[in-house]
Symmetry: C2
Subunit: 215 residues, 2 copies
């Protein structure tokens, strides 16, 4: 598989997580390319039985395609954790590097990372790490955006891995495991007044709330 094909599979997998069907348009937006490029690539991927594709219809990953995507995701997430826990980088800087290292072809390399980390189940953003067969560990967590006022939660994951967003969380002292108490939910813009780690009061926009996973 080429690097480009791997990136399409990753995008396809990410898009398959939501409710909406996967369309040519959404893939194009996700990858920042034009629709005709996507049309020709999905024909290629369909030829390799990695996706199910019929003109004008929604696109779906096949089992084979999903497996491939999850194996790349495994390499990405193991790398992120390795960069953070072994190499001491911050959670806001690991994504871009892992984006490159995930394409390295070497079972030996990634198995050794897996071993050194003790076969971890979650990456530095709280995302589950698929096992060597592409199976995801069970995990429950829900976005803060659906939570009620007056309750207290624990941060277990973030859905936006962008350095800017994570650096913002750093300035608030928020890390995985931090407590988040919802003080009030504002109906007009669905923003929330929150108390972080029992000391920092601030306001989270709805977008921010959607990107924070809690239990």
């Amino acid at each position: 598989m080429t690097l480009t094909e791997e990136n399409y599979l990753k995008a396809l997998h990410r898009l398959s997580q939501g409710e909406e069907p996967i369309t040519v348009k959404r893939i194009a937006v996700q990858l920042g390319i034009k629709m005709p490029t996507v049309t020709s690539m999905v024909r290629n991927l369909a030829g390799k039985k990695l996706i199910k594709y019929e003109k004008y219809k929604a696109i779906e990953l096949t089992d084979k395609g999903r497996r491939q995507a999850l194996l790349i995701l495994r390499k990405h997430r193991l790398t992120e954790l390795f960069l953070k826990d072994v190499m001491g980088l911050g959670w806001e800087e690991v994504h871009d590097i892992a984006e490159q290292i995930e394409h390295i072809q070497s079972d030996r390399f990634f198995n050794r990372i897996d071993e050194m980390l003790g076969h971890p189940k979650f990456d530095p953003h709280g995302e589950p790490i698929p096992d060597a067969n592409g199976k995801l560990p069970f995990f429950k967590a829900f976005p803060l955006s659906g939570c009620e006022a007056g309750k207290k939660y624990k941060l277990t994951g973030v859905l936006d891995h962008d350095a800017g967003f994570l650096t913002y969380l750093n300035t608030l002292g928020l890390t995985l495991g931090s407590s988040i108490e919802v003080m009030e939910v504002h109906g007009f813009d669905r923003s929330m007044d929150v108390l972080l780690n029992e000391k920092v009061r601030t306001v989270f926009s709805f977008i921010v709330c959607q990107h924070l996973l809690v239990v």
Copy 2:
């Protein structure tokens, strides 16, 4: 720079180490591609001022090109040492992985590796590691092929990084620092009878002797 351009620069640098002038033919052989491909790529590299090139003449790296090549070599060699000393891989398996990781674009990543290793001067094969400015540390060592019978040397480097060759050295118990005593040099094929680590007697072909650096 593209991945392909980086690989040409590495090949160019390697070829520039020997006596012979760099020719289109030698580059083609080194990279396992055809001559016309090389012709078009050297015109490209010359356009970027990375090499000096005139039709039918020998090719030379410019200072800019050499610097670039050495920075890639730095990433390659730092990675090899990291894979061996931090991740516990064998010196026979690090080359192929480093060949891929050397193209990662991240100063942060490689500077962290450099730090973790304590700014090392040599890689697992005894090759010198260029500094962040592309400067090579001074080092003296010569191939065993030029050595005399009756003298004792210390292995400080290997010039062939192929897994097969290094595994062969492993079976002989040879590592960097091992002693090699030259018992006899045979004129007919320039092979040598040697005593390794004061205990193992064997015969080295001329090719093997050329690939072992000693002091």
